[in-house]
Symmetry: C2
Subunit: 293 residues, 2 copies
């Protein structure tokens, strides 16, 4: 059986190669493609594509279509980081230890490179010859909802509102279900769509994804307190310094850790309802809650 570490070592270079090739292949100004690729190459954990692939793996499917959908979802994630880092948003100079897009290419290019990475994934999915038209439409609809006002962008708006006032725990959950959770849910559900999973299996995986999404965000909040700037590749302690509404701020650090553990166990419980072995998806859940960056 493939362990998570082997899986990641095998798959991450393939994900990155497909992603960069999909940008290289388009007919567009060279400098724009460079700005798009710069942020795609900037590393990161590639958690979203790994979830697409791990779900396909669970159903014993060939991964080829997963690399393409995984690349599409990583592009959406990357565009959101480029725009999030802009001076008018979080105003970050560094991301994953590298200069942010606008520090290298300027704000106008960074805005446009982000825009292009928002649009391209829909065309990429539409061009996947191995899928039926119905599968493509399903994936595109899920991705549009997950990425847009009803998902990630809506979550970012709630998050900005949370910078000017203290959120309740319910509101904080809403921020994260949308801001981080929606795209993680898409990653997991798209793997199920590609694998031809049943409606029941998709519902179980959505439940798993819900808890993974919240666990992911709570862990991020905890790392902001316990991690170092060096480990994280971004400034640690930013949330506390800005008095931001986070899980530790609302529940204490111990309370946040307890909540993290609850969502972790719920995620594993969901997997227990799947008929076949789900070791890889369990290990991914463990990786999310135990990581130190």
């Amino acid at each position: 059986m493939t362990t998570l570490k082997e899986f990641m070592t095998q798959e991450m270079p393939k994900i990155e190669a497909v992603m960069l090739r999909l940008v290289e292949d388009i007919q567009a100004p060279a400098m724009l493609k460079e700005a798009m690729s710069y942020s795609l190459k900037a590393g990161g954990k590639r958690v979203r594509p790994l979830f697409v692939l791990a779900v396909m793996d669970h159903f014993g499917k060939n991964h080829d279509n997963g690399y393409v959908v995984g690349a599409a979802v990583e592009m959406i994630h990357t565009y959101s980081l480029i725009h999030d880092d802009l001076p008018s948003m979080d105003n970050d100079d560094y991301r994953r230890g590298k200069l942010t897009n606008h520090k290298v290419y300027g704000e106008a290019y960074a805005t446009l490179a982000g825009d292009a990475l928002n649009t391209l994934p829909f065309g990429i999915i539409a061009r996947m010859n191995e899928l039926s038209a119905t599968q493509k439409v399903t994936l595109i609809e899920l991705l549009s909802v997950a990425a847009g006002a009803e998902g990630m962008v809506g979550g970012q708006v709630l998050d900005i509102d949370g910078e000017t006032r203290h959120l309740t725990l319910d509101e904080l959950v809403q921020v994260h279900v949308n801001k981080t959770g929606a795209i993680l849910r898409f990653s997991i559900e798209s793997g199920a769509v590609l694998a031809g999973a049943s409606d029941e299996e998709r519902a179980i995986l959505r439940d798993y994804a819900y808890h993974i999404g919240l666990a992911f965000q709570i862990k991020d909040d905890i790392l902001d307190i316990e991690g170092t700037t060096e480990e994280l590749g971004k400034t640690a302690g930013k949330d506390v310094a800005s008095d931001k509404s986070t899980y530790p701020a609302l529940l204490t650090l111990d309370g946040a850790k307890e909540k993290l553990d609850t969502h972790y166990k719920e995620a594993l419980a969901a997997l227990g309802k799947l008929p076949s072995d789900s070791t890889l998806l369990e290990e991914l859940a463990t990786y999310i809650v135990k990581r130190n960056k």
Copy 2:
């Protein structure tokens, strides 16, 4: 026979109503929906949706699907204006005589409202129950190419490069074929896809669209010189003041007018190849080249 004026009077309120309902219907933070709707309501000529409908009309088709695809394309156009007006891009305080999005909602919201209007159209098309999955995939692929790095966004990048050096006429054509032309071509071709036009008819309409796109931009350049700030709803004379590469700058004002006339005649010549009456599409071409705003 419907004249263009009757057609616009009938259709423009319907286009706007469908567009605003499509935003109203999504589950998203109220303030985000307000920022999205603000710019959608800000008026404009609605040229792109009108082209979708005029092409469907040409083929004698019911317009219902055209309102939805027209709304989708107007959202893409509107997102590009919101981002274009940002301080890091053109830094405009007014658009169509109203305050620009970021002047009302702030830069962070304007960035996110633009992002949401870039993503939503793909979901809207994916949810059009009256279309076959194959039609949806065709439209989504065309829209992604037209809107993204290979089309509009690519054109904007070339346009920014043109602000720091003088472009050749060939380069200027490339800017406009992409920046303005790509979305106009999508509008016209999507009408043909919705109407079930033949490949030959689609090719004729793409030719028409190519010339309409360039005519539209040349007319814009001429209006920047001959129009008034009051008529245009934006600052006149900006291109000359910034020494921007435009058709009049490269060809003289008379030369630009000659070029405009050439593309106008080529657009009409393309329509002449269509088997049935194309009065409405001819009148739209005339409207594009004779308008004073």
